[in-house]
Amino acid sequence: MISALLYLQFHSIKNRTVMRITRLKQPKYLLGAVVGGLYFYWYFFRTIFTAPRRGQSLALFASPDNQVLFESVGALALLVILLLAWIIPHQRAALTFTEAEVAFLFPAPISRRALIHFKLLRSQTAILFTTLLLTLVTNRLGGHSWIRAVGAWLILSTVNLHLLGSSFAVTMLLDRGISTWQRRLGILALVAVLTGAVIFWGRQTLPAFDLSRSSDLQSVKDYIQQILAAGPAPYLLYPFRLVIRPILASNALAFLYALGPALALMLLHYAWVVRSNVAFEEASVQASRKLAEKFAAVRSGNWQAAQKQPKSKRPPFTLRPTGPPAVALLWKNLISAGQAFTLRIWISLAAFALCATLLMKQTSGGSGLRPMLGMIAAMLMFWSVLIGPQLLRQDFRQDLPLADLLKTYPLRGWQLALGELLAPAVALTCIQWLLLMVMLVLFWRTSGGALSWPDWLGVGFGAALVMPMLNLIILQIPNAAALAFPAWFQSTKGASQGIEATGQRLIFMIGQLLVLLATLIPAAALFAGVFFLARILLATAIAIQLASIAAAIVLGVEATFGVMLLGWLFDRFDVSAEATS
């Protein structure tokens, strides 16, 4: 029977690989693969062909003391992961299969053990891929790549087996009437007792840690090492250290010495898993259905549905039946964005931020906290321009799967485009205005007198004026990309795997930055021209405001053209052609 499952697994991987190679005939995948390949070469493979720099070869592990410390810290991390696997689960064990696998394998005369073997076999594909990535990432550190590869594989496989075994054990406990909370309390009590034992031993045998030396990393390290290397901790961590030890081996001999116990532990886990006789089928069917729904939602571009089932939300304002139709799309997309985007929330947030910053201004005195927070707000504002359009996607990118419905509406393309852009633009503008307000209050009179308060107000007014226009433009770029290259857009969202998908994302990112720069240049040039001319005759604050108005007009004109272009793209967007391609 296992041969049939091996056949299924082998041919699934083979066919997927063949399909991905064949689709490289399409320029979009080929170009993506080339760019992605260059990226991977630059970051991972380049170092394979160059000798590691002198002194780079894991000198950290050279000292036996360090070896013990790393081993203990690694073992501690592993212990935490495995403890969480016993504490968190609240449902019965479920092996996640695809819906097709459920339909074919569950009614077939295949034993439960064979299904577990199939699941283990399949998880090995992901483990081997992760191992490869880890090995490539850590290749820059030098040392023996094969030791790290085998070591990582041992850790990942053992953890995977333990997670599966613990889920079976949790199910058995549930079947025997031990509730989730009883189990959690039991485990937490055990953890408390063991931690208490370590702390008790530490207090009895070690001098108390001098907090004044907490800035000295070496003394902190020494103290931790003392706790982990003596007393009860080494015994508690012993099995976990056995799993960690091979990856930290400094040479082949040490590795072979460490391999035996780690391998034995892994085999013990394997025996535990395959000998567990737990009914996982029903929960697996449910988990598989949820997984299928998630994939379907992601493939259709509906990430919200993939994350969780939407619930009814309060509208941001009352929508009247007459008026500009674009407002209906704003209203709809703000509902989609959630409760965070209602006017009441924003007024409350602004009031809170104003009070908090004013209070801080009065209490912080001459400390560096105020300008530091101001700088953080400025940085967030800068990042909102770059990352905001990727995070706020309540526009065409969300509605593209329903493009056929949008096309039946009696609206012109530009009306739809404007309506679709408004919600993320409004949300982004509110965030930026809030940050701007915080920045202005925090920076006021902290710049050593370089700018007077009217100048600061001028800067604030100018930025507040420019930001909405800029947001409309920066949101148009990914939307236009989605409409002009829908197949690319879908492939970067749905099938987010492989070198070609990474390459496509990189191409998109570079394209987005270039278009942003091109649209900013005329506005920036006009701003500079108006400012310097106005500065000759008028005060700085007024010059800034005049220059900002001029820049906002240029950006507004660009945004208007962009909306028209976006509408034209949507009118030309052939739903069926995209479907057939």
Partner: protein, 253 residues
């Protein structure tokens, strides 16, 4: 009301719809039938303005769909077999949104009446994820009928409906036709088409095979082979008579 001339849709070299001519007058219900891949859905999507035709013209209530799409779309509603809804809007919010898009003044009484007719009155605050498939279909219908369209297209309208829903849907279609709407129904359910359609258009491989009133086309085929049902007409017209009369598809050898 609906005037279609030389409608052609190409996908590369593939001809999905080929030189289609027909008209549907107010009060008429035209059944669009044909085997899988005949071009029924493509035709309806062209008629609804979802996809642009490669050639030909479509007039809806006298408005050219290509030249004056807004006026044309204001008069039509298209119901797909799979209801197209926004996951995050409630039933009530769907109706408010649709009212604004179509600029329907005082829509509330109409919406309430539609919800009551479609047995959705108790689900006003539910999102589509909380509705059954049939209820989603009913919500899509309520949204489509809110602006009192004069031209209505249905693509497999009975999919997902329970027997009561099917009966109500048929009654609703006939009522709209009596009120003067021009209706096109695409369906594989020939008994439904036979029951409610006044006209039939049979397509095969994108071409019009036969078009006329139900009585005209059944009479034409009855003249050849006694009383002919629409099913018999369908099989004869599409050249699948042998498979049709055999009753079962041929078994693989």
């Amino acid at each position: 009301m609906i005037q279609v001339k030389a409608l052609t849709k190409l996908y590369g070299d593939f001809v999905a719809v080929n030189e289609l001519d027909f008209a549907v007058q107010p009060g008429e219900v035209m059944g669009l039938v044909g085997p899988n891949g005949a071009g029924k859905t493509t035709t309806l999507r062209c008629l609804a303005g979802i996809i642009p035709p490669t050639r030909g013209s479509i007039h809806v209530c006298g408005h050219d769909l290509a030249q004056d799409p807004i006026a044309a779309k204001q008069q039509l509603a298209f119901f797909t077999d799979e209801p197209r809804l926004f996951d995050y809007l409630t039933v009530q919010q769907h109706l408010a949104f649709t009212a604004r898009i179509y600029q329907v003044r005082d829509y509330e009484p109409v919406a309430d009446q539609l919800l009551a007719e479609l047995e959705l009155a108790g689900k006003k605050n539910a999102v589509p994820g909380e509705l059954s498939r049939g209820m989603k279909q009913k919500l899509a219908i309520a949204c489509g009928l809110l602006h009192a369209p004069r031209v209505i297209y249905f693509d497999e309208p009975l999919t997902g409906l329970d027997p009561i829903g099917i009966r109500r849907m048929k009654d609703s279609i006939l009522k709209r036709a009596r009120d003067g709407a021009a209706i096109i129904i695409s369906s594989h359910l020939l008994h439904l088409v036979e029951e409610i359609c006044s006209h039939i258009l049979i397509l095969k491989e994108g071409r019009k095979i036969i078009h006329g009133t139900l009585s005209e086309i059944t009479q034409k085929f009855s003249a050849q082979a006694g009383d002919a049902s629409l099913e018999e007409v369908f099989f004869r017209a599409t050249g699948d008579a042998e498979q049709g009369s055999a009753g079962e598809p041929p078994l693989p050898k």
